[in-house]
Amino acid sequence: MKIERSIRNDHIARIEGKAGIFVKIGEEISAKINVTEGPRFFEVITKGRRYDDAVAICPRICSFCSIPHKLTPIEAVENALKIEVSERVKKLREILYLGNMVESHILHLLLFAIPDYLGYPDAFSMTKDHPELMKIGLEIKNFGVFIQELIGSREIHPENAVVGGFGRIPEIKHFYKIGEMAKNILQNATAIVEFFTEYEYPSYVNLARNHLAINPYNGYGVYGEEIKTTDDLTFHVSLYKEHIKENVESYSFAKRGEYKGKPFMVGALSRLVHNNKFINGTAKDLLSEYKKFLTPENPFANNFSQAIEIVHFIEKIKEFAEEIKIRKEEIVKPTEKSGAGCAVTEAPRGLLIYEVEIKDGLIEYMNIITPTAMFLPMMEIDIKNMAKGLWEEGYKDTDLIGKKVEMVMRAYDPCISCSVHVIKL
Amino acid sequence: MDNIYSLYKCRVLRVYDLTDDVKLFLFRFENPDIAESWTFIPGQFVQLDIPGLGEVPISICSSPMRKGFFELCIKKIGRVTDKIHELKPGDFVGVRGPYGNGFPITEFEDNDLLLIAAGIGMAPLRSVFMYALDNRWKFGNITVINSAKFGKTLLFKKELEAMRDMAEAENIRIIQTVTRDPDWPGRVGRAQEHIKYANTKPEDAYVCVCGPPQIYNDVFQTLIKNSYDPRRIYVTLERRMKCGVGKCGHCIAGSSTFLKYICVDGPVFGYYDIISTPGLI
């Protein structure tokens, strides 16, 4: 007699956005991720609008990474209209971006991932037994929020960042405070890294894979213009269409990325795999101490990588905040009215690409490729392997398999809202 | 200097249901000194506070002669009043006041008194009525016309009903009338239709009117047709209010030649104020 089971969860908790998974086990094992969240067509919405209005719309794609969805299109527009902003503005943007990175990572770890590791349904119930963990996590979060509110006007949908600079540049005294705060929370961040080194990765999901990450401008960061791959290719972002393809499957509103016809991975792990040599300071020490946790073939290493990044970025923010020189600055107005441009950055969840074409100040064409859309097929494979591994090991409890499968998903930190915005290439 | 916005703690002593959405509350100040010394003029109001939700102006509906206690009759209609309706005996609220000018009650003395109320308008007028009963010898004939849409929404229906027969002997006439209730056994029709049945002598009666703004014009016309002296007609008005003491500006009403704070210059106004000032009602 054939034994067949299926696991179906139409609404996975603790991820950002709405998706379901459908895993079939038995002789044939298959896994599907159904993105059920409705499509929102950001590329169409922004079409025909003024470029500054368009970049105000883009962050609404996703709240967790609304800063990347603001700063990346801004950069694309600036590239298109040949706007050159000052070093100061670039630095401020980077601080802002990293502030978001820290907040996004810690929220994801604290609210979504860690409860899995400790066996709680959510962070609230976890708080009762682990108040300290929650406290240090929230302190890190507040640090990220402070930065984003200061520079971006708020942590979700920052309106202060605009094409050509900032509406208002904050006063210097606040940056001293950033430095102060960074110093105080560094050990919190180290504790989070150490938390993840107490667990071993499930081996079922070991699989060699292609990682794509940015080739950062200077040091380990989020800005750059080239993309690196595991098979040693480096290409300029403007050529992204030649290398990254997006498809549609009937069971999902999201687009699905492919590199050379194959699934691939992006995100914190991919960044560390490619760029770990640029990591310095406390994060470097931690990384060399816990080297064995940085395994390119296992997605669970992504949570560990996020924790390492938190440490690194806190130090980086501190460094930037200490060296920044504040001066009033006008918003740079474009001299050209039309043009085309591309930009790529490293959002918390991985590569984020924006391409725009502007004519007479209006958006003619916009294309957005989000990290979640890129790694979705890879995630499906890992989910399948997890289910398969457990099943073959003799676990028949679908609840347990379901939980583990969700854990794989949360390791990726998918952002469903991001993935569902799309227009065809 | 005292803070005019400070509230005195008051305890709810009793709660009576008057209609489905109107309750009568009996209060006493916690502080015995205040309870003893506190007094007011009929027609004045207090600011009643539910801590954490806010204050509402409410007319006092008992007689100032009942020292130490006062009654408020409150319709459940919004955020604060909803909560007031949940109060039980023993609960506390904050109260400050009394505010407003009140009816010129000493001027009323030695004259007849005609009280015309529609709906919740009975609340302030009951205070005048109770005061007149407490000082019966000071007044001539008294008529109360209490009107509402339905029998079940008539305020103080039972109270007034109970005293009706006894009252007649005392030259007090009580007329209760409804406009839309086919099952009501008593009088029907709008308040003004019953003015002619009043026992008051038009030439020396004072008239107090309170009800929704729409009724005023009809009532005024009927009164004047029946030879009541327009100079002796008073109404009490209502407006949004936050302070009760002429600061917050919400109750400012009238026109550029007669601009008044309903809370300190009113809520009681004379007939001529009303008809000569657009925007007052």
Binding site: I12, R14, G38, F41, V44, S66, P121, D122 | R79, D82
Partner: protein, 258 residues
Amino acid sequence: MSLKIGVHGLTSCYGCQLKMASVKEIINIARNFDIKYWYMISSKGEIEHVDIAFVEGSVTTKEDERELKIIRENADILVAVGSCAIHGGVQGILFGEEYEKAFKEVYGDKKIEYEAEISHPIKNFVEVDYNLPGCPPEEDEIIYYLATFALGSYPEEKDYPVCSECRRNGYPCVLIEKNDCCLGPLTVAGCNARCLKYGISCIGCRGALEEIAWFDSLAKTFKEKNMGEEYVKSRMEIFGKQYEKMEEMLKKVFENED
């Protein structure tokens, strides 16, 4: 006894929930309320009867609609949270034909198992008791709403424009000074004029004031400042597309007296 609450997201950026989850008092919220379901945060719980359900996001699929109805049936009070839920959100710009076109453009003729539709505010499907505006809502308002519910009462919704807060804070008016296309006069206050603090003109993210958003008056002023119809319209519709009288009001201004 603490109130039972549920938090739910339809189609959106999840920012309102993120904001709710990241308010400084989140631990106190968890302590003072009985959170029955909140998928974004917790894997426990199914939709069940709650005193108050907070719903973020707009309805863009049949599935959204079905869920929303279940939420409504199980909640005594339903609060629409954020611009998507209240006005359809930025995704609400695609309305009618524009939507059909966009869908085709994106998914081609491919069939998707789930049915998608125009982004609707949730009031189009169920009765909404209160609106908690914002994109995302402000921390103090989230707390205020919850706290008034906890007191057994309900919040007073703001009924005046962003300009009031801009002025109370003494930020220079960018509409007067720089002739910027500021939508503050139309937009529900409550953000404490956050953008004007930075000299960035209001984009209307909190949504237009119900019935007293004078798109026509504002457009008239914009027109006098030499802004074209296309631009004024495209900016006003970002958060105001589904405001019933907007187009009509704009037409009146731009068609007249040319």
